[in-house]
């Protein structure tokens, strides 16, 4: 049982949590909902001893935590999977899983039979397995998420907290994780999770707590809620989450991006496709199907082994570095905002200005005031909160960081926009806003290539959907809801649903 009583927290003058009380019982899956910046992550970090509250009490099974340190929380049986990945990239899966664990007193975890056995047991129990000797940095973002879950489970927690655990998983892995949570909960673990997927919350959770602006809005059984009632509580008004009808590009719209037989290692195997002006092309597939790698090849973030790209009617080129693509009008919003997207220690204004074409040369003046003025416009359009251009990006909530990332690239005025998981971790309202931004960009003539693990998002936005499997294009369909089954079948291949890759 996890109890949080009257938790208060402020960062400087900004009140983040204002007397929040929450009770999560064993045998019950407890979901926490709220807009971006509502204070959800801060709340669960306090429960796990990662952040010290200004006031309030945290108790596990009735015993208050001795101190607000990760160690005290861990000793009390609380484990957390944080929103941002925290594995050590250069070390192996095993070393990461046993980081700070006492299983091996001296010597290498890698060589400990006991550690390996324990790891195998946990993998077996939870239905996810990872190669113990793989280097964490080489794993896909989904596998790194699974790694974090394994790292918690190895300690057999009494309270397991997961902050947006499914945001970087594909539908199949997300489903397996939900099954796992149910099993843990039935076995008596207290499970608390944060999610922006309302259907997931309604399906999985027994109890749901809604926060808004750091205050508790409601806490009650999930049966009493509907998607609409939850949205109303989260944003304080009703909101349509339906996709607007698509504007089709004119039939004679010219091709703005043409990829020809792109190869990259074993991840991308001879992919060709084209995007027309004003068209949104969706890339469907499982995580690890090579969609992100393909996109990285297009902009030159990775150098393809073979193949050419034609940007905006230019000559076919072999992409070498992102600079060339950007100046030709091809930009990519990367999937990993923390590693690849943002300079976390700098301000919103500076991040927004980062990728603007370097027209005035290196010595061009970039006065902070002018950057901030330029940023205000985007802050308003993308509804970035807090609405301060000088705010340090690393201190924004996850969803707001995502909005900064997207705005940064839209601010360059691209001709072709590649977006890789653009709504990862954003709340319902912001998600609708981002969808609107993408649809608008397309309507104004930008060619959009959309990678998403959410089939709904692809079906709702894309005019055409290209399906990837194991680095190859296996199917191409119209973006119609009726194509759902066909896309799934193509993505999973002949082996059918449930098979792991």
């Amino acid at each position: 049982m996890l109890e949080l009583q009257n938790i208060e927290k402020a960062y400087g003058p900004a009140r983040v949590l204002d007397g929040v009380t929450l009770l999560a019982r064993p045998g019950q899956i407890h979901a926490v909902l709220g807009e971006n910046g509502a204070g959800k992550s801060t709340l669960v970090k306090i429960a796990a001893g990662l952040v010290r509250p200004d006031a309030g009490l945290v108790a596990v099974n009735g015993d208050p935590l001795k101190a607000f340190t990760p160690r005290a929380a861990r000793e009390a049986g609380v484990e957390i999977v944080t929103q941002e990945l925290t594995s050590v990239p250069a070390r192996t899966v095993l070393e990461n899983v046993f980081l700070g664990h006492r299983v091996v007193a001296v010597g290498s975890v890698q060589r400990s039979k006991h550690a390996r056995q324990r790891f195998a047991e946990v993998c077996e129990e939870c239905g996810f397995s990872l190669p113990g000797d793989a280097i964490a940095a080489d794993l896909s973002i989904a596998d790194r998420q699974i790694l974090e879950v394994l790292r918690c489970l190895i300690r057999r927690p009494k309270v397991l907290i997961l902050d947006e655990p499914t945001s970087s998983l594909d539908e199949e892995r997300a489903h397996r994780l939900r099954v796992l949570l149910r099993r843990l909960s039935d076995a008596g673990t207290t499970v608390l999770f944060i999610s922006h997927f309302l259907n997931e919350v309604l399906e999985t959770a027994d109890w749901v707590t809604v926060l808004r602006d750091g205050r508790l809005i409601s806490s009650g059984p999930t049966e009493e809620e509907t998607e609409a009632s939850l949205i109303n509580k989260m944003v304080g008004r009703t909101l349509s989450v339906l996709y607007a009808p698509k504007t089709l590009p004119p039939a004679e719209a010219e091709t703005v991006l043409e990829a020809n037989d792109i190869w990259w290692g074993s991840a991308v195997r001879g992919v060709s496709l084209h995007v027309r002006r004003g068209e949104i092309v969706g890339l469907a597939g499982l995580i690890g199907a090579g969609r992100s790698e393909f996109a990285r090849c297009l902009v030159g973030a990775a150098k393809p082994d073979r193949g050419t790209v034609r940007i905006a009617g230019g000559p076919p080129i072999r992409p070498r570095n992102p600079r060339r693509a950007i100046s030709a009008g091809l930009v990519m919003v990367p999937e990993d905002r923390k590693q690849q997207g943002l300079v976390l220690g700098r301000s919103v204004a500076e991040n927004l200005a980062l990728s603007k074409p370097q027209t005035s040369g290196h010595l061009g003046f970039a006065l902070p005031r002018r950057l901030e003025d330029a940023a205000r416009d985007w802050i308003r359009r993308a509804d970035i909160r807090p609405a301060s251009p000088a705010a340090v990006v690393g201190e924004l909530s996850g969803g707001n960081q995502q909005k900064v990332l997207l705005s940064k690239w839209l601010a360059c005025g691209p001709k072709i926009l590649i977006v890789d998981e653009p709504t990862r971790g954003v709340d319902v309202g912001a998600k609708a806003a981002i969808h609107e931004m993408l649809a608008q960009a397309a309507a104004s003539g930008v060619g959009v290539l959309l990678i998403s693990s959410e089939l709904e998002e692809l079906l709702g936005l894309a005019h055409r959907i290209v399906v990837f499997r194991k680095g190859e294009v296996v199917d191409e369909v119209e973006g119609e809801a009726s194509e759902r089954e066909r896309i799934m079948t193509a993505a999973f291949g002949a082996a059918g649903m449930g098979a792991d890759e």
Binding site: D213, A301, L342, V343, S388
Partner: protein
């Protein structure tokens, strides 16, 4: 529980948050500087004389110039440990060339040599993908070797009177003015230009910077060239003040420059800092030095005090930064 339009509220208060926090962050080290200044002014009457104050600026000009260059490298996520060797090399070069090329010619060639050595560092780091700490540690030996070779292990001297530009102009020495000019120039470069923004981005997150279309190799080479040129300029000043130079003169410079930046509050992790911080840091270190002389303290303890004050300054800065979280 029932306020319906709540999301609008916090936006009204927050816009001033960033700048205000920045102001308190800045304060720490400046308060420390003013503290030392006041303490010395009270304890040693001779401290306040204009002669002593201008002497302080003159004394610190060499490490100050080096520290300004070091700040740019540190902000961009690197270290330049070869500054001391470049300093010695350029000092020797200027002394040796003054016969043939005259004072101005010797100075220009020596600064260009510093720039060139820095560019070599930058090229090794950017194109060879070598960690800057290791690369400049290695080149610091190589460059020092060059310096020893051209003097054949001797002290290079000159009797050219014009070479010793010690004369005061508007109350400060030429060296001091050069230092001030470089500090202002690099300060503007880092804080107000696109180039400067790029350095912060590279230091903060190199991968994000690369994907944003920033030419990282160019920036690395440029920043190490600037660092080398700064070390060269500092070396020339040292040579001109002494009228001689040998290969041992720069042995402490690189670490002193890094220490100045760090004391001033430049983050060694990269991505944070400013040139004025390096100036404040260098000034604090110089004041400690000056205090020992004026107060007739036993110089044996100077290094200990020096180290402790560095810790104190950094600790105080950390404390002020942490308080807001």
């Amino acid at each position: 529980m029932s306020d319906v339009t709540a999301p609008e509220q916090p936006q009204e208060v927050t816009p001033t948050r960033g700048p205000r926090i920045r102001a308190t962050r800045d304060l720490g080290i400046v308060v420390f500087l003013v503290g030392i200044f006041a303490a010395l002014a009270i304890a040693a009457p001779s401290f306040r004389t204009s002669g002593n104050l201008s002497n302080i600026v003159n004394q610190m000009s060499m490490q100050g110039i080096a520290a300004c260059g070091a700040t740019l490298t540190i902000v961009s996520g690197g270290f330049d440990l070869s500054q001391g060797s470049v300093y010695a090399f350029c000092a020797i070069l200027s002394v040796m060339l003054v016969h043939t090329f005259g004072v101005l010619g010797a100075f220009v060639i020596a600064v260009l040599a510093g720039l060139g050595l820095g560019a070599i560092n930058g090229a090794i780091i950017a194109l060879g993908r070598v960690n800057s700490f290791i690369a400049t540690l290695a080149t610091s030996y190589v460059f020092l070797g060059f310096a020893t070779v051209i003097t054949q292990g001797n002290v290079a001297t000159t009797s050219n009177q014009n070479f010793m530009v010690m004369n005061n102009t508007y109350g400060l020495t030429v060296a001091s003015w050069v230092f001030i000019a470089i500090a202002v120039l690099l300060g503007i470069l880092l804080a107000y230009t696109r180039f400067g923004r790029g350095l912060y981005a590279i230091g903060g997150n190199p991968e994000a910077a690369r994907l944003s279309g920033i030419n990282i190799s160019f920036y690395r080479i440029a920043v190490f060239s600037i660092s080398g040129a700064c070390a060269g300029a500092a070396g020339i000043i040292a040579a001109s003040q002494a009228g001689s130079a040998d290969s041992s003169i720069g042995s402490t410079l690189a670490l002193l420059a890094i220490a100045s930046s760090v004391v001033g509050g430049v983050s060694i992790l990269g991505g944070q800092g400013a040139v004025w911080r390096a100036v404040v840091g260098a000034l604090i270190l110089e004041l400690i030095n000056n205090g020992f002389v004026l107060l007739n303290l036993n110089p044996v303890y100077e290094d200990v005090v020096f180290g402790l004050l560095v810790l104190l300054a950094v600790g105080m800065d950390q404390l002020l930064r942490r308080r807001r979280t």
